[in-house]
Symmetry: C2
Subunit: 193 residues, 2 copies
């Protein structure tokens, strides 16, 4: 039987990664997230920090991004090269086993496969509360941090997929983790597997 | 205890109304849809057909719409007047009882109440199949009929609410009735009540 993959796209601070890990845990399958970054790092030779900065967020605002946006002889930026490697890794994982994949445009990359596409979101207030609890305070206001992350994540997604990030019609199911609660989200996703 | 309302927004042909009725049936509460139109008709004195044409769809393309878009002494079009009456009726229902309300921007009108906001969608192909089965063939291609209805419904919604229709973040839960199946949608919504 074809492997069954759950892809989770999520707003920063919505608990999407926590939900993905718990779903995988309860279903006794793997959850890919940071692991993918590591594999990308190994396959590409790029340092892991650089990949973290370039793989899911657009680089337009960073000085590093400007230096690194030089194109190679095929016209590809480092971010494009990472996209290609990452895509290959996600396709390989999907061939190998049933699993949960959080982020990384996996829903788009695996769109022709047997996948359950999930989107997790939550209000700015709920997410601000969560990131402060989870990552602590910084100099920057949590709402501003979230807006910045949302903007970068959606730009990256829309640049590589040409699909509007967060549009309900792209997903089998979209859940507000703030109003429904993380446990309820896990339960619903599990029941659809 | 405050009444608990389930609001269902839906793409035309997605089965959202059928899902709403079944949820209400299983929960033993009322489902409001056509009834609202009737109440609007009674309260406003407009003929029911006219309200059907003006209440959920914008009228820009119809000849009737042009005639009727004359504004009254307060600058309100007939569609604006229907909006006001309809809003009042929905608020009254929400005060009276727990129920399901399908369409009519009820999610927006009752946004400060104890509501569960649901969005039901499905691919164009799935919806085309469904409307042909349900309403039969017409001279117009079903895909074109759907696109037209989607456009009108979203224009109406966005005109009166200033919120993007179908954006996942507006709803507690958004479900693809085509990939998940109507029964599964009913089960999930019921479990959240």
């Amino acid at each position: 039987m074809e492997n069954r993959i759950i892809t989770i796209s999520r707003q920063f601070g919505s608990g999407g990664r926590t939900i993905g890990k718990e779903v995988a845990n309860q279903l006794n399958i793997k959850c890919y997230d940071a692991q993918i970054i590591e594999e990308v790092a190994k396959a590409s030779g790029y340092a892991e920090t650089f990949i973290k900065e370039n793989s899911e967020y657009t680089t337009y605002s960073s000085f590093l991004g400007q230096i690194l946006s030089a194109r190679d002889y095929q016209g590809k930026t480092p971010a494009d090269q990472i996209w290609i490697i990452q895509k290959k890794i996600i396709e390989d994982i999907a061939k190998k086993e049933s699993c949960v994949i959080v982020g990384r445009c996996a829903d788009y990359i695996l769109k022709d496969k047997n996948i359950l596409k999930v989107f997790i979101h939550s209000s700015l207030d709920n997410r601000a509360k969560r990131i402060v609890e989870k990552y602590g305070e910084t100099d920057k206001d949590p709402i501003a941090r979230l807006k910045d992350k949302d903007k970068k994540r959606s730009s990256y997604y829309e640049f590589y997929t040409d699909i509007k990030w967060g549009d309900a019609t792209n997903y089998d199911i979209a859940l507000d983790s703030g109003t429904l609660g993380l446990d309820k989200c896990v339960e619903i996703i599990k029941s659809l597997y």
